[in-house]
Subunit: 220 residues, 2 copies
């Protein structure tokens, strides 16, 4: 796959914009666990995922985490280039959840092209709207959904991502995704086990009843 295939707007850009972007795009790799971008001060650039999985999260003053969205193949992230917009005033951290390959367009180049190109600026709007919608959906979950339903949704999504019923994820990892304490997750997983939804072993969670998990996840 070429990076232009991951940019649906490509064919609507003029030659000058195409050349400028194509000449600047970088191929990057990040091993699982690596931090790819951190904070609002650093301006990494625009990230387009080629393969793998990235996780964007925020962190509290005392070190608690919550995932705000995940970036799958062909997903694009502009919050890693927050300097391109002066009104983006929050800090996120992006790390590789799996070994990941991605394209990086340097922020200054992207900004220069976007300022002159209505198609690219409009496309950027759509990308931001997608992430904004992700965060609004997260906000709604935090506000209106109890933690057991959010945990069920996380396990259900995780099993789809891994294409497996056996998840190699620690209770701490899950707590960091969902913005809660490890103890809360452990307690809830034990409850799920007693209800026959999962089977817990050291380092793995086996999903026994995916259907019931999905039902719980989708409850209002």
């Amino acid at each position: 796959m070429d990076f232009t295939e991951a940019l649906p707007v490509w064919k609507r850009l003029d030659e000058y914009s195409k050349n400028k972007l194509a000449a600047s795009v970088l191929n990057r790799k990040a091993a699982k666990g690596t931090v790819v971008h951190s904070g609002s001060i650093e301006c990494t650039g625009l990230i387009i995922v080629k393969s793998g999985l990235l996780r964007a999260y925020i962190i509290s003053p005392d070190g608690r985490e919550i995932s705000i969205y995940r970036l799958f193949e062909r997903d694009m992230c502009l919050l890693s280039a927050s300097c391109i917009m002066k009104s983006l005033s929050f800090e996120i951290i992006i790390e590789a959840e799996k070994d990941t390959e991605y394209w990086l367009i340097p922020a200054n180049i992207y900004k220069e092209v976007m300022e002159e190109s209505a198609p690219l600026a409009n496309y950027t709007n759509e990308i931001m709207a997608t992430r904004f919608s992700d965060v609004m959906s997260l906000l709604e979950q935090i506000m209106w959904k109890s933690m057991d339903k959010r945990l069920a949704a996380f396990l259900y999504e995780e099993s789809a991502i891994e294409e497996s019923n056996i998840l190699k994820v620690t209770h701490e990892n899950i707590a960091n995704h969902l913005g809660t304490a490890r103890e809360v997750i452990t307690r809830m997983l034990k409850y799920f086990q007693s209800e026959g939804l999962v089977k817990l072993s050291r380092g793995t969670i086996e999903i026994l009843d995916l259907e019931k998990l999905e039902k719980l996840a989708k409850e209002e």
Copy 2:
């Protein structure tokens, strides 16, 4: 004030765009308590506040509310024109918190101009980034701040908006802003009263110690 003064991008638009926007802009009024926009289906248009105060909020399936941001004079809201971007997939409600006058640019006109105009598309990006930052800040508060600090911050902001230490706001109103139950607010206000921060009377909250309230609001 003319609506062009509230649009800093105005002078960078071409004549065609200016004429098209100027010909379509509508003057609207909303009395305190009126719903100005509701949901993602309806596509009201772009709102620019001339005077007054609007509140954007979301609502749970069982009717609980939380404010996501407020729009003051000259603030612009494009989530009331979510149809201009197909990736904006969430529903908000906007209501007048005070008697409000605003300009409304119909969504289809704005979209047509934005699609051709790099300056307007980039400006729209900035507007969305501002609202996105508001929501991220709210998310951080919900996740990492206890309700007493959020209540202190709300009372502090409210006293700045009203330019008064006597706030005519019900406990229910506050609960709807902060996304909690009225009982929680009542209990916390009584605690604030016992600490000498406020004085409660029927229908009003008098702030006695603004400095202490501000300090509490800003605590990590």
